[in-house]
């Protein structure tokens, strides 16, 4: 899976969990500062990413990921 595909699927998950339009989600958007995720939604995002990519992530490290581009890099490391 190439990086663009990963990014697209991540944005799709984020749009679904945070109930946003895909167009609002920029590559460098910060989950909290730009997209308004609260702590519960941050946890839901981690679970949704795991389901989407069928991976099991290190939750502590996953929580440190703050942006879409960071998530692309982090999730790619599991693929």
């Amino acid at each position: 899976m190439n990086q663009e595909e990963v990014k697209h699927r991540i944005k799709k998950v984020v749009a679904s969990v945070l109930k946003l339009d895909m167009s609002e989600i920029t590559d460098n958007a910060n989950f909290i500062f730009d997209l308004g995720a609260d702590s519960m939604q941050s946890m839901l995002l981690i679970a949704a990413f795991e389901e989407e990519f069928e991976i099991e992530m290190d939750v502590d490290k996953a929580q440190e990921v703050q942006t879409i581009s960071g998530a692309v890099e982090f999730i790619s490391s599991y693929l």
Binding site: L18, I32, F33, L35, G36, D38
Partner: protein, 711 residues
């Protein structure tokens, strides 16, 4: 680097009196910190405009929301950041871009959670410095300003307090909410209420300087968990007290911290963090309180009542027992019972029944109604020998509690003297207490509790009249030779300087030392003793021996060359038996001083306050008696005299039981010189002069033993 203190002073004015506030990271969810802070600001009726900043909301509480603070077209004075710590720096950066200079960072998850959090705090400070921002927090409850021209409640406290003249500053946010609740029940209002959390940027020192000029504040209360800049705090406190005459009351937690157990000197052992804190606060004029109740007991006395001219009080009671208890407590606190004038006695005689006690404490008798209280209080107020009143009430079946409370308030308003009350009990007296509190008459549950606040107010005003400015912490006299010796020891990894080496250093600062010589053979000891002149004292010198007496390392009263030679052998023999193989630098032969009082002087380098000087009764039992006083250097001569007078055994020095007074003049000068030595030598960790022998007045004092522990 720019002067952040001046910047904070300017930005704090905007912080307390913003014309517009942005809450960054807020949301619609009540019961959460981001949600409640916005609602609190809104509900407090802020005298300005409020902007919610939330990435996902179009409006909050009917107010248009913005995605970013930089999207707000109008100027913003204050930003309150409620985002999680992970993005607080992004919010602060945008504040800088927007030109906001005053910020409150509520978010937790910084220094208090470890190294990663500490790094985040550093980032915040870098951004603040880049944009000339001043911020309170992080990890705090927020800020409240009750001034009607502001009405700012940028906090997640449950209550907006009543307006008042007490400023409360706290390092603990949770304590703030408890204090607000406590104060509301007692009808106590606040001028400013600040939880400053991790004090990364704005500290208690900046807040003290701001409140010095705040017209709404008359008393400053401060709860501190850590002191990061002791000398700065002391200077700020002295400035506030001297320039604005506002008392500062502090609770400093962590009294029981144990830090002296492994100390290598008596001073190190005796000068615990708490003792040093006590001394520093005293020196700065700060009133240290044990707990919240005591703090507010004293605060309301300052805020609600005039200051007493002197400390002569009249006690008026309807119950003998509480009157006696209060009298005992008053006398113990240093308060005098006023001697009534003839006019007062006559007035009391005319207005009270024959069974009443018309002497002080005045007992208006258990069946007294308001008229008797009014008569007694008025008579006492009018008496020139009375500086303040303590009024006690116990609820009898005929006691008209509420009327008495109202009458006390009415009479008190006619006189410029303080009146404190104690309506004893709980349920029956509750409404009366409320009346008193409503009229700003201090009320105390226990009558004895009136004494401490009265004395604190009295002492504070006495202290203002004779206060002196703290001088800069720098050595007046400097010694290159002392520094050379210390550096040489440090270069050879030496951490402990024994008597001979320590004496050489203290003599550089003109402390009175005795003639002495270090010897390495019995023959040399005899010769040096002869040169010095008998009698002499001989002591073992070794880096490894802290308490020489314990190893047979000291012999006194040596009167001849033969005795000196014998003493040399006896000491070396004893030491080698007790501590086999120990390295001995030599045996010190020094002039034996005539009999005098043995005192101890010491230095301890404190991480919060710097150089601390100790004085006390010396000798080998110093750590048992613990009769010592402390002050932070630099010490002037008047402060040295205070130190001398402060210990229990000061009477011995001033001449007790027919003995002539000791040379306290020389002693005070020696304390001042020691303070200078401490400031000139940052590498000295601890220093003991024990004993310093103080002779009769005019005959001086002498360092009889000394040791230095280096950093």
């Amino acid at each position: 680097m720019k002067d952040r203190g001046k910047l904070h002073h300017k930005n704090l004015q905007t912080l307390f009196y913003p014309k517009s506030v942005a809450v960054i990271g807020t949301n619609k969810v009540t019961g959460t910190v981001p949600g409640d802070i916005f609602i609190n600001i809104l509900h407090a009726d802020l005298q300005g405009i409020i902007y919610p900043v939330s990435p996902r909301e179009k409006s909050i509480g009917g107010v248009k929301a913005y995605k970013y603070v930089i999207d707000i077209e109008e100027e913003v004075d204050l930003a309150v950041i409620v985002f999680p710590s992970s993005v607080a720096k992004l919010a602060l950066e945008q504040c800088g871009q927007k030109g906001i200079k005053s910020v409150i960072i509520i978010s937790a998850g910084f220094r208090e959670v470890g190294e990663k959090g500490q790094a985040k705090e550093k980032e915040l400070l870098e951004i603040a410095e880049k944009y000339d921002i001043s911020f309170i927090g992080p990890n705090c409850l927020g800020v409240i300003n009750t001034d009607p021209v502001s009405r700012l409640n940028a906090s997640f406290a449950r209550k907006f307090p009543a307006e008042g003249n007490i400023a409360f500053l706290s390092q603990s946010g949770a304590l703030c909410t408890a204090v607000l609740d406590y104060a509301q029940a007692k009808n106590i209002g606040f001028s400013k209420f600040v939880s400053f959390g991790n004090k990364t940027d704005i500290s208690e020192i900046d807040l003290l300087y701001y409140l010095m000029e705040d017209k709404k504040t008359k008393v400053i209360l401060l709860y501190l968990e850590e002191i990061t800049d002791g000398p700065g705090l002391m200077k700020a406190a002295r400035d506030v007290i001297e320039k604005s005459h506002k008392p500062i009351l502090i609770i400093k937690s962590g009294r029981t911290e144990e830090g002296a157990s492994a100390a290598a000197s008596h001073t190190g052992s005796l000068a615990g963090k708490d003792e040093i804190c006590d001394a520093a606060f005293k020196q700065a004029g700060i009133i240290r309180c044990e707990n919240i109740e005591e703090m507010f007991n004293i605060a309301i006395a300052f805020v609600y009542q005039p200051e007493p001219k002197l400390n002569r009080i009249a006690i008026i009671t309807n119950a003998g027992g509480p009157g006696v208890l209060t009298t005992d407590a008053a006398i113990k606190s240093g308060i005098h019972l006023a001697q009534f004038s003839e006019e007062t006695t006559l007035a009391l005689k005319r207005s009270l029944p024959s069974t009443a006690n018309i002497n002080n404490p005045v007992d208006v008798i258990g069946d007294a109604r308001a008229d008797r209280y009014v008569a007694a209080i008025s008579a006492a107020f009018k008496d020139e020998n009375v500086d303040g009143l303590f009024v006690i009430l116990t609820p009898q079946s005929m006691t008209d509690i509420n009327t008495i409370a109202k009458e006390i308030a009415t009479v008190a308003s006619q006189f410029d003297k303080p009146i404190y009350t104690s309506f004893m009990g709980e349920a029956d007296v509750a409404s009366g207490i409320q009346i008193l509190q409503k009229h700003n008459i201090p009320h105390y549950i226990l009558p004895e509790s009136m004494c401490k606040p009265f004395m604190k107010v009295y002492q504070f005003h006495q202290q203002i009249s004779k206060s002196e400015t703290i001088t800069e912490a720098a050595a007046v006299y400097k010694s290159k030779e002392a520094k050379k010796r210390i550096n040489s020891a440090l270069n050879s990894n030496k951490k402990f300087l024994h008597e001979f080496e320590a004496t050489q250093i203290v003599s550089e600062y003109k402390l009175p030392v005795l003639k002495s010589g270090l010897t390495t053979s019995a023959e040399e000891a005899a010769e040096v003793a002869k040169t010095i002149g008998f009698p002499v004292v001989m002591k073992v010198m070794s880096e490894k021996i802290v308490h020489k007496f314990d190893v047979g390392g000291v012999i006194l009263n040596i009167n001849s060359e033969i005795e000196a030679a014998e003493a040399f052998l006896k000491i070396t023999d004893s030491v080698q038996k007790i501590l086999p193989g120990i390295k001995i630098d030599g045996i010190l032969v020094s002039k034996q001083v005539p009999e005098g009082l043995e005192v101890i002087l010491g230095i301890k380098k404190d991480p919060s306050f710097g150089d601390v000087i100790m004085f006390g009764i010396g000798g080998i039992f110093v750590e048992i008696f613990k009769d010592v006083s402390f002050r932070v250097a630099p010490i002037q001569k008047n402060v040295a005299f205070e130190m001398i007078q402060e210990i229990k055994a000061s009477k011995l020095l001033l001449g007790a039981r027919g003995k002539k007074p000791a040379d306290i003049e020389c002693l005070a000068e020696t304390i001042v010189k020691l303070s200078n030595l401490a400031l000139d030598n940052p590498n000295i960790k601890e220093l003991d002069i024990n004993p310093l022998i103080v002779l009769e007045l005019g005959k001086g004092c002498f360092v009889a033993d000394a040791k230095i522990v280096l950093k």
